[in-house]
Amino acid sequence: MTEELIIAGFGGQGVLSMGQILCYAAMMADKEVSWMPSYGPEMRGGTANCITIISDEKISSPIISSYDTVIALNQPSLDKFEDKVKPGGILIYDTTNIIHPPKRTDIKVYGIDGTNEAARMNNIKVLNMIMLGAFLKKRPVVEIAMVLEALKKVLPERYHHLLKINEEALHRGMELIEEVETPV
């Protein structure tokens, strides 16, 4: 099993930490992982992405140009990476932020109303966990229990009161992607 994905959005949406938590969880499940952030002269609100690779085998290049899964959280990210999904791959995008939906028909497309859902949960920062939950429902590369363990290790203790809402967000994402099962 090898899953190559890119998570892209704007700074502040939790794009980089989403990849990190996924890697951490996969590492604890004894898998090979690689996390390659875009880094540049960027600021809050600028674009951010990370290439995340999870595999049962040793990972060669951490930098790749097409992906099994693209998770796009804003319009520029979707515009940039829609073409980079491998045929038959998955594209998950946030319909709150993306007004021009993807056009590809040779891939599975799931629009999740992530930001609005996070707002309904009273914490906009759990957007990334909603999207991660949605992704893991379709590509169960690690168990949700491992992600929760990873959150416990990655979050400093003073934020541990947020573990519960993050767990809820993961499960909410898993439900939401089922609701949009008929690809939009």
Partner: protein
């Protein structure tokens, strides 16, 4: 139990320095290696008493390294390309004075201030001198976060074994990316263990030591040079390191170092899927360069492609090794762009497979 962590290359290197019993770090922040200084500032002193000092410039930090190394301490600095350029004078002095130290260059695109994206355009500077005079560093090229960590203690060992500056030549991508890393157990700082050559103030029971790079008499200076060259020859005999993947049956070989070697593994796999037998040779030590190894490997192949994030620097050494026996072609991207596996395979097909 193994201690596995998910870390950035820069953080893994910094953690490895603490665990290797490093006595002092002097450095000046520059992207994409600032995490080294940040991590050490946060962690080092409270854990081992290691000195961590942000110098006022790279010129200052390399001279602090010279001073610390002259005292026989395990000292290191890190920087990125423009900062390392500023250190070249000091590195020449250190090489001449034969004091051990560990230098790290997390390369970014140049020339000039350039970009902050990954590059390999400091190869010449690292292996061909950089500073003035006939000197050589030992240059280690990691290709994973694990090697960013492992090469710290290896680097210190080699530096002290040969009393020579050792450089870890990395790049921005390796510094910024996260992978799992198995950390070495903690090593005690050996501050009480005095190097017999160290200059630590007069002691009544021995002759005073003298460390200098100034020898006014040309005969004396030539002696120093002969001694250095003999040492470099010994280093080349003992310390050349190289990794070879799928070379046994290969018709074509890609030579690449660092992160790019890993991209080349993907390119080689793409080629094998199409029936092209491609192997990858990765020099781990760039200085000493695995000349004999590449020379021998070239005999049984049809052609060699050298791939770098530069305009073509290491390719000179590959050509010297192959010495005209087989075609050696080059493919590279510059200015902070990482080549893709598809591009590399296309270059190999165009320049070597179809082009003959």
């Amino acid at each position: 139990m193994k201690e596995l962590k998910l870390m950035k290359g820069n953080e893994a290197l910094a953690e490895a320095a603490i665990r290797a019993g490093c006595d002092a770090y002097f450095g000046y922040p520059i992207t994409p290696q600032s995490e080294v200084l940040e991590y050490l500032s946060r962690e080092a002193e409270k854990r081992t008493g290691m000195v961590v000092l942000q110098a006022e410039s790279e010129v200052a930090s390399i001279n602090m390294i010279y001073g610390g190394a002259g005292c026989g301490k395990k000292v290191m600095t890190s920087s990125s390309s423009p900062g390392v350029s500023l250190m070249q004078e000091g590195i020449s002095y250190i090489a001449s004075a034969e004091v051990p130290c560990l230098l790290v260059n997390v390369q970014r695109g140049g020339p000039g201030l350039g970009t902050i994206q990954p590059s390999q355009a400091d190869y010449y500077q690292s292996v061909k001198g950089g500073g003035h005079g006939d000197y050589k560093m030992i240059v280690l090229a990691p290709s994973s976060v694990q090697e960013m960590a492992d090469f710290v203690s290896l680097g210190f060992d080699l530096a002290f074994k040969y009393r020579n500056p050792v450089m870890i030549l990395s790049d921005g991508a390796l510094g910024q990316m996260m992978e799992k890393v198995e950390l070495q157990p903690h090593q005690e700082r050996s501050t009480e263990l005095l190097q017999e050559w160290a200059t630590v103030g007069r002691t009544p029971d021995r002759d005073s030591n003298f460390i200098t790079s100034l020898h006014m008499q040309p005969e004396q200076m030539e002696e120093v040079n002969i001694h250095l060259q003999n040492k470099y020859k010994l280093i080349a005999e003992n310390e050349t390191r190289v990794e070879c993947v799928n070379c046994d049956d290969a018709d074509y070989i890609i030579v690449a170092y660092g992160l790019v070697a890993r991209v080349c593994h993907n390119a080689a796999q793409l080629g094998r899927d199409k029936g092209l037998k491609i192997g990858v040779i990765r020099p781990i030590t760039l200085s000493p360069f695995p000349t004999d190894y590449i020379s021998k490997a070239s005999e049984q192949v049809k052609g060699i492609l050298d791939v770098e994030m530069s305009a073509g620097q290491m390719v000179d050494d590959v050509r010297l090794a192959v010495n005209g026996k087989k075609p050696v072609e080059f493919y590279g991207r510059m200015g902070g762009i990482v080549p893709t596996p598809e591009e590399i395979l296309a270059a190999l097909e165009e320049k070597l497979v179809g082009g003959k």
